[in-house]
Symmetry: C2
Amino acid sequence: MVSNKQLKLLNQLKQKKYRNEYNLFVAEGIKTVKELMNADFEIHQIFALEDFFNQIQHPKSILISPSELKKISNLKSPNEVLGIFEFPKKIELDRNGITLVLDDINDPGNLGTIIRLCDWFDVRKLVCSKNTVDCYNPKVVQASMGSIARVSIIYEDLETYLKPEKRPIYGTFLEGGNIYQNNLEKEAVIIMGNEANGISAQISQLIQHKITIPQFGQNQATESLNVSTATAIILSEFKRKTSF
Amino acid sequence: MVSNKQLKLLNQLKQKKYRNEYNLFVAEGIKTVKELMNADFEIHQIFALEDFFNQIQHPKSILISPSELKKISNLKSPNEVLGIFEFPKKIELDRNGITLVLDDINDPGNLGTIIRLCDWFDVRKLVCSKNTVDCYNPKVVQASMGSIARVSIIYEDLETYLKPEKRPIYGTFLEGGNIYQNNLEKEAVIIMGNEANGISAQISQLIQHKITIPQFGQNQATESLNVSTATAIILSEFKRKTSF
């Protein structure tokens, strides 16, 4: 049974304000919930259908019916379980290897996809500008497909973060150097910009290496790539060049 | 003014059945409509706000009010213009260069993003399985950001298409060879599979080169990449290796 108090909390957690007040967020589906549990995220509460409830036998899990799950779920097709988890402890990201920096990414789907890409390419550090969409937004958690459990994410003023940086700083610009022909470092900071406006002028000044994914063919009409597909190509190039 | 007859047609064109019956589809926004016009797509009707109406001065354009546009638009924030266009003439795709083949892509956003990637990487030929989402679905047209005007797309039984193929056929599989270390050809067919099930067993048999995007790091837990980010990386690798 889902109590009225729990219903109220679940409703509140749709809003960033309450997520930050309670330090709690919601994740759904067997895969995501399991991966968060495996990554030692603290469980506040698990609402599970019978199979999953019996499987995990967790003191903080509550058995619910499919119709109750439908009621509390943010998904069109709810998938067995919904969990409320605590935010991970505040962390300091060390400054080695590759750190990805996001300058005001707005779209939850894009952020979720980028987190999944970080996980795939073993980029464990993600720095988001204060105006980047909240990574504990349910749509981000969902789009990350559990990868949010394995990537450390902080929200930080980007100038403050970048000023003391000693690694080379790369950013993508239409007029940048061809990424396929540029020297890419194993230890680097890579900045990706906002969907509509790219990297802000302020942050651009801190970038030493302007790179671009060149457009092929004569028929140059599409103006840009989507930020998540651009991130895919850039992380692939950094990792390929420094691994093989 | 939008007439009742036009309203009915616009409503019908939300369904694939009617799009195929009338050979018409809807595209919205200044950028997409302009690119379709530039690419010589035949205009059936344009519904435009004053600025765009005056700008194009087209005999098939109708001046409408913002509230009318809101009523007929499929978008949350309608953008100046909605056009009804005719399907391009049926084409035969020649078998040279790179052809991308999609085996049952379901998600309109993925197909739109893949069309945009094809445009960026100068892949002008896209073959979709019969069960792939309709490329004239309004969400696909929107996500392609006008690129649909510059990529030739056919729907075809994939076995029929692939059997006479003389170019090498590549497909992505978890157990495939490392794409970064594989020989990739300038003339090739590349197959991407369904979001949940990958490439079907039947089609797998026709693939000579199984490739994969390797996962990095020890922490191998995410199971796969999203099909549009995987397509981004694969097209990037094919083009990089054969161009630079």
